[in-house]
């Protein structure tokens, strides 16, 4: 089964809070990676599948069966563990796992960055307060890990991609900050 067929099937009719189809976000994340010169199938497939364990009842073994162990492992790393009670712990433990696995799976942090970047691109649908919280979370919980991983020496060709994504994230946050301060001023 093709990844696109699966996501079109399981997300059929499902919308994001901004009214767009959920799949628009998944394709958005994939496109960011393509813009950064990524053509590796497991990474592009993972971009399309990165929310599937959180959003559906599909299992990791099913993903491994269909798309291989590497894609399944990457999707697992990018999925927040629902057993935690608070959103803080779900996010923190997920980021800790991504950081702990960077040697074997530097692709995970790269896809996470593309995911966050696309969420920032489409943040307009949220109330200003929610936007501020999202930016704060990005700066306090995600950036330190993105930066620590970027400092590592064994990232190969992904080092440049991570650098570019960090720049794009910073730029987007600056633009949102500016928009928010203008809203406040009005």
């Amino acid at each position: 089964m093709h990844v696109k067929s699966l996501i079109e099937y399981v997300y059929a009719g499902r919308k994001r809070k901004n009214g767009e189809p959920v799949t628009a976000h998944l394709y958005g994340v994939r496109n960011i990676l393509v813009e950064e010169g990524i053509h590796e199938e497991s990474m592009l497939n993972t971009a399309l599948l990165h929310d599937i364990l959180e959003d559906t009842d599909l299992t990791l073994d099913y993903l491994a069966l269909k798309f291989g162990d590497k894609t399944a492992k990457l999707v697992d790393l990018l999925s927040k563990d629902p057993s935690w009670n608070t959103s803080y712990c779900r996010m923190k433990s997920s980021m800790d796992e991504i950081e702990l696995s960077w040697i074997d799976y530097p692709e995970a942090v790269t896809i996470k960055m593309a995911d966050r970047l696309h969420n920032l691109y489409t943040i307009d649908g949220f109330k200003p307060e929610k936007q501020r919280e999202y930016i704060q979370e990005t700066e306090e919980m995600l950036f330190p890990i993105f930066e620590r991983i970027y400092e590592q020496n064994n990232l190969g060709r992904l080092k440049k991609v991570i650098y570019n994504l960090l720049q794009r994230l910073r730029k987007e946050i600056q633009l949102i900050d500016e928009r928010l301060s203008q809203t406040k001023a009005v």
Binding site: L53, D57, L58, T59, L60, D61, Y62, L65, D81, P82, S83, W84, N85, T86, Y88, C89, K92, S93, D96
Partner: protein, 243 residues
Amino acid sequence: MKIQYQDIAELLGISLQSAKVYLDLLIHHELSLAELQKLTGLNKTVVLREVRRLIKANLVNELKVGKNRNIYQGVSFLQLEEKLERDKLILQNLKKVIVPALQQSQRLGIMKYEGIEGIRKVYLEILEEAKRTGEDILAIESGIDIEVLGSTFIANYIKRRLNYNVKALIITPNTATDRQFMEENESRLTAIKLLPNFKIDSNLNVVGDLVMTFSLNPLQGTLRRDKAEARTFKSIFNKLWGI
């Protein structure tokens, strides 16, 4: 209860006549077509047809022993048991593919946290775990350390805990701060035990499957979701508490 051919047929998903042929092959292990005819009382055409069906169902093996002579063997109990084990294994793996809950139930979780804000957030995770499980929070804490969280946070946290009807049992060293903490906070849902000569470097909270520890210098800790570890810490706590 006496077993009938019909029961064997239903169990194996084969016809009644196949069941008769199969049972004789199991009992006598190896038979020719002529021998099978005699033992089952079925005519040659029927026996041949049923043997073919049993071969297709992997219940009978055909062996050539001469130029024009075949004999038939019923698949042994050992082979059937092996097949059963294989099927069981396949079923277990299929379940893992299909049922997501099986993957989550024993999954370990660990996270690091830093700074006062991190510690505050993890206290809230602990509180939500207590609410979810209905268990008491078991804590080994130093009053001096807890003060770092700030009086507003502590007051709000305790208020929320009381609203959730969550009880906390706290073992604490017997310092002036701890005695003051005891005087101010002991209530129906907060029991405090002062332990003299009890030195702690790290504060500990246990509830449900969670174990949280943090220290002040440096201001950091870990939160683990590990059922076995939590149970061990609960046992240690209960010993100290005198339960």
